[in-house]
């Protein structure tokens, strides 16, 4: 296999919680507890998990919006989490982000041309005419009429806005797109259009994707590799087909079983994990999933299992049997 485009090694991020008088440290949110993953050129890694599991924090750490407390983020072998100056800037150019809410991620005071041209301006790519051409080109690619470039975001629907956000991400010719739940704010009918657009773009340009989602149907359609997150840990990481065919971690299995599928029918037994997600402020000792896990053994309460197993890695003391 070739070298990964981006690899995260042991990313940690804890957010301090301040409270009381004089901003005393009242505790911390364990958002990322040492996660590892890698993304290969032209391939898609989907990061899945419930709300609050640290998916978005991971995406923002990769996008350089959050500085991880510990760990390395290697882009083409260079650590970008701690880099500064030119290395950092060129990495920023090569990694563009698409956000969840297309109503919030476009500046309402800028017209579409200015929004899409922004990464070009920031990175000093081309002159005025070249930028205009490039903006028209990417707008056409995402299915927005370049003649509408003078318009403002509020004149577009949610799906069109997300296309504009995608055009902005494509403008500086990135190698990796970080998409943080790019579909969940859209209507179901629009979701498939935007998803197909992303797939077409990936096929046409060989882009790599870090795709954050909680929609397993999307993962099944779009992802090459899948990493399942739970309370700031990656609990299972595998090629898509292997994960869907034979989930080894009990959490992955319940997640897959809970997903609604076309055709309906009854939920399979064990679909809903018992209890609630524990608080990331005070995570349980040992495996974070053990309080809800149907297969928990005594070791789960004491030691955190380590993610291991090569291509299909999982972190479990008592994994699901291979069917």
């Amino acid at each position: 296999m070739t070298a990964p485009l981006l690899s995260a090694e042991g990313l940690f991020k804890h957010f301090p919680l301040r409270g009381g008088l004089f901003g005393r440290r009242a505790g911390k949110v364990h958002a990322l507890n040492g996660i590892d993953f890698a993304i290969w050129p032209g391939r898609t890694l989907a990061l899945v998990g419930e709300s609050g599991c640290g998916k978005t924090t991971a995406a923002r750490a990769v996008a350089g919006l959050i500085r991880p407390d510990a760990g390395r983020l290697l882009f083409r072998g260079k650590d970008v989490a701690t880099a500064s100056g030119n290395d950092r800037k060129s990495a920023r150019r090569a990694m563009q982000m698409v956000f969840q809410d297309p109503y919030g991620s476009l500046n309402p005071r800028l017209n579409v041309n200015a929004i899409v041209a922004e990464p070009l301006v920031i990175h000093g790519i081309g002159d005025g005419a070249a930028r205009r051409d490039r903006v028209a080109e990417v707008l056409a690619q995402v299915g927005i009429d370049p003649r509408d470039g003078e318009r403002y975001p509020h004149e577009f629907s949610g799906g069109q806005r997300q296309r504009i956000a995608i055009a902005r991400a494509l403008a500086p010719e990135p190698e990796l797109i970080i998409a943080d739940e790019p579909l969940s704010a859209l209507d179901v009918s629009i979701q498939s259009q935007v998803l197909n657009l992303l797939k077409d773009i990936q096929a046409a340009r060989g882009l790599a994707f870090l795709f954050i989602t909680h929609d397993l149907a999307v993962v099944d359609y779009f992802a090459d590799e899948v990493a399942v997150m739970y309370l700031g840990h990656i609990v299972e990481r595998a090629p898509r087909a292997a994960l869907f065919a034979a989930p080894r971690h009990p959490y992955t299995r319940t997640l897959l079983a809970a997903a609604p599928r076309p055709g309906g029918g009854k939920r399979r037994p064990g679909a809903v994990p018992a209890g609630e997600v524990p608080s990331p402020i005070d995570p349980p000792a040992g495996c974070p999933f053990h309080p809800r896990c149907p297969r928990a053994v005594s070791a789960c309460r004491e030691t955190m299992p380590i993610l291991s197993g090569g291509d299909h890695a999982f972190a479990c003391h008592n994994p699901e049997p291979v069917p």
């Binding site: 920023r92 969840q100 800028l110 970080i178």
Partner: protein
């Protein structure tokens, strides 16, 4: 991609859009006309002097408190000076000081508010305590001290320090130094909320630096409070100038400003009410017009506002 519905109306340039929205706001348009008329009339003060054959500062005690006549359309004041010409000259000073000081304080307040709101933390605490400090300072003693500063001591040539224009600039500086606090607080508050919006994150993820984020992404989204506060403060500044003039620290008689005409006529309010009425009415009209103007500009600047 055939499934894309294009918005129907043709796209418009920013300026055309702004002008059309502004024109839809009747009161704002009327206010703009009023203000332009006042400014034009004030600019034409020497012409009025020449037409009427009077001078703004020539005293003629034989015609004190003259009623309106052809020679003196608004009558004369307690020293027999023509009221109309003095009002026009006063308008020059009051409008110039009002607008210049309001703009200067808006610039100071915007910079301080943006820095405090965007960077937060210690810088925010420092700047906001400074703002609190300026608000807490007793205004009058401070103004008296500032107005009493001998400009020759800070290195200005003597003839320049006595120039009446310099006293105008001095007014603007003094007023701007004490009145930026409102804008600073408003901008800080608005910046705190805009900073958390996703498009700011998107710009940061692109690699935009703090200067670009503040100038391109935050500032355009906080102009509404700035415009409203600035237009409101034009009125306050005109009044502040009149207070200073009343204390003998602002625009010095015989040079007229609406403020010192108003305060100079205080004891004559029963015997010669027109001397109070006209400057008061002009200050009132100016303040109101600026408020409507700010209102209209706020609506017109917001691209999401529904065109009526």
């Amino acid at each position: 991609m055939t499934d894309i519905v294009r918005p129907t109306a043709p796209p418009d340039g920013m300026l055309i859009l702004f002008a059309r929205r502004f024109a839809d706001h009747r009161l704002a348009l009327a206010s703009l006309v009023v203000l332009l008329a006042l400014a034009l009339l004030a600019a034409a003060a020497p012409a009025a002097e020449w037409l009427l054959g009077v001078s703004a500062n020539s005293v003629n005690l034989t015609i004190r408190f003259a009623p309106p006549s052809l020679a003196h359309p608004f009558g004369t004041d307690e020293l027999g000076r023509d009221l109309l010409v003095r009002l026009l000259y006063g308008g020059r000073i009051s409008l110039a000081v009002g607008i210049a000081a309001a703009l200067a304080s808006a610039v100071i307040g915007t910079i301080i508010g943006l820095l405090a709101g965007y960077y937060g933390g210690k810088l925010d605490a420092l700047l906001m305590r400074l703002t609190d400090g300026v608000i807490a300072l007793p205004l009058l003693p401070l103004l008296i001290v500032l107005a009493a500063v001998d400009l020759t001591k800070i290195g200005l040539p003597a003839e320049l320090a006595r120039d009446p224009d310099v006293s105008l600039y001095r007014m603007v500086v003094i007023i701007a130094l004490v009145s930026w606090t409102t804008v600073a607080r408003l901008v800080r508050g608005a910046t705190l909320s805009v900073r958390e919006r996703e498009f700011v994150l998107a710009a940061a993820a692109c690699g935009a630096g703090p200067l670009r984020i503040m100038a391109v992404h935050i500032l355009p989204n906080v102009v509404s409070p700035i415009i409203v506060a600035t237009t409101l403060s034009v009125g306050n500044v005109i009044l502040l100038e009149s207070v200073l003039s009343f204390l003998g620290l602002g625009i010095q008689p015989p040079i007229a400003s609406w403020g010192n005409m108003l305060t100079g006529a205080q004891e004559l309010i029963w015997s010669a009410p027109q001397l109070v009425f006209w400057p008061g009415a002009l200050i009132f009209a100016t303040v109101i017009a600026f408020n409507f103007l700010g209102d209209g500009m706020q609506d017109a600047l917001d691209p999401r506002a529904i065109t009526r």
